[in-house]
Amino acid sequence: MSRRYAWPALVLACVGFAFLYVPLFTLVAYSFNESQRVTMWTRFSTRWYAALAGSQELIDATLMSVKIATLSATMAVIVGTAAAIALARYKRFRGRGLLMLAVTVPLATPEVLIGFSLLLLFVGLGIERGVLTVVIAHTTLGIAYVTVVVQARLASFDRSLEEAAADLGGRPLAVFKLVTLPLLMPGLVAGWLLTFVLSLDDLVLANFVNGPGTSTLPMVVFGRVRTGLSPEVNALAAIFIAFVTVTLAVVLLLERSNTAHAAAQD
């Protein structure tokens, strides 16, 4: 068997990963810095973690953002996958052209516009602004992303598996659940993650459609920029990283032991 991949790919990939992680190391390193200023290292200290624990504003905003992001990502995946399947598989149904436009235009539309027009809609309909409206805004944007990703995956699909399942007597819904969905899964997960990140990071949309009492994390962080970001937010970032690393590691380990287990049973 030949080498798995040429060295240029490996080198560039390493550069890419390093690029992703340099700021993260900085963030984490300075979360343990005693001094407030990021340009000065004085000595090791955990004071910012203590400050974070006492910062109700940051904690509330974080929980709020995570909640909104989870809801938006889930909704976006459900609706977006439906759109992707409809567009990729069914070449002629009424309104197809319009659907195609409706899933791509949000990508092209400046967030200022989406946020603003949604605000007008909510005011016009008398919908109270809060978590619901922010979730709606993020989902709408997320649908566009999910559709693009899932469609790309569908495009590189091998339909023979589905056809085989159908030939064996599987009904459309069962074929979908047992064959199509698992094969689509990487695309769905990718779409979910993209929307989650979009929502977690969004500043503009939330600014427009949120209500009193729904401050999201980016808004709070951005508000603190003016007086200089205190390393509490570094501590927050470090905690996020630790939490996610542990969770993902556990999930992946479980999945591998599952597959190993299933393989062992064959």
Binding site: S2, A102, F157, D201, R256
Partner: protein
């Protein structure tokens, strides 16, 4: 599907949820904005009078600064897309070809930065690139330079920030497609005597095309309207169209003009692929 002709096609049915959602939460608001773009501004609530006036559009097409801002943004978005592709393709490729063990680790590594607010990571870059920041300190320590370089608030720092923010949006779609690739095709090609660059160009690249397209779409288009990154990391970078739209909405209180600018922007972007097709390029696959 094998069943006979039905009164309602399944495509219609499956399309119903997205159509419903996007209809009420995107199309209708967009139509509002279209209406406002044809209105005339006034002082009061709302700050416009509905009607039919093309004044706002005329003003936009008659003023060079709007075109300037658009070209500026196009330039930035193209560079960002190119750089994320160059950096992201090897990452996705290596991940897709890896054995399940290392692949899992790499997936982990790609996802972790995702979960820190991108705003924070941008601030980290600000700290890194400052005159008193780490990059300069290290370079001085190594003796490469004696006075700190101005790295921050330049076009370079904007690009760094943009690539950083948009990299995952290129890597994930690429990975989603590349992971479906049948690697035996590559092995077969090299067994037949093809050298690696050839295999890459003639086999890998075309098969990865849907992923490249998807990734480029998810980077280029939103990057066009981006203005948070240039705001924070930029200095004398000129006006971006996203910022211009912001100014029109907020500073000049001219909602019709802001609406007209946004609508024009969307129309221009949507017509870009059409222009591409007109010049004889391959139409988008599966999009």
């Amino acid at each position: 599907m094998s069943a006979g002709p039905r009164p309602v096609s399944p495509g219609s049915l499956i399309a119903l949820p997205p159509v419903f959602w996007l209809g009420i939460f995107f199309v209708v608001p967009f139509l509002f904005v279209l209406m406002i773009s044809l209105a005339t501004p006034q002082i009061g609530r709302p700050p416009y009078v509905l009607g039919f006036s093309l004044d706002s559009y005329a003003a936009i097409f008659g003023d060079a600064k709007y075109l300037d801002a658009l070209l500026n943004s196009l330039r930035l978005a193209s560079l960002t897309t190119l750089l994320t592709l160059i950096l992201g393709f090897p990452m996705a490729y290596v991940m897709a070809r890896a054995a399940p063990g290392p692949r899992a680790v790499m997936l982990l590594l790609v996802f972790i930065p995702f979960w820190t607010a991108s705003l924070l990571r941008i601030y980290a870059w600000m700290a890194l690139l400052q005159e008193g920041g780490i990059v300069n300190r290290v370079l001085i320590m190594l003796g490469v330079i004696d006075r700190p370089l101005t790295l921050l608030y330049t076009t370079g720092s904007i690009l760094v920030g943009m690539v950083y923010a948009y990299l995952p949006f290129m890597v994930l779609p690429l990975f989603a497609v590349l992971s479906r690739l049948d690697w035996r095709l590559l092995d077969a090609a090299s067994d037949l005597g093809a050298r690696p660059p050839v295999t890459f160009l003639r086999i890998t690249l075309p098969l990865a095309a849907p992923g490249i397209l998807a990734g480029s779409l998810l980077v280029f288009v939103p990057a066009l309207g981006e203005f948070v990154v240039p705001e924070l990391l930029g200095g004398q970078s000129g006006l971006m169209i996203g910022k211009l739209i912001w100014y029109e909405f907020f500073n000049s209180n001219d909602w019709p003009r802001a609406a007209a600018l946004s609508v024009s922007f969307v129309v221009v972007i949507l017509s870009l692929p059409l222009l591409g097709q007109l010049r004889g390029r391959r139409p988008e696959a599966g999009a």
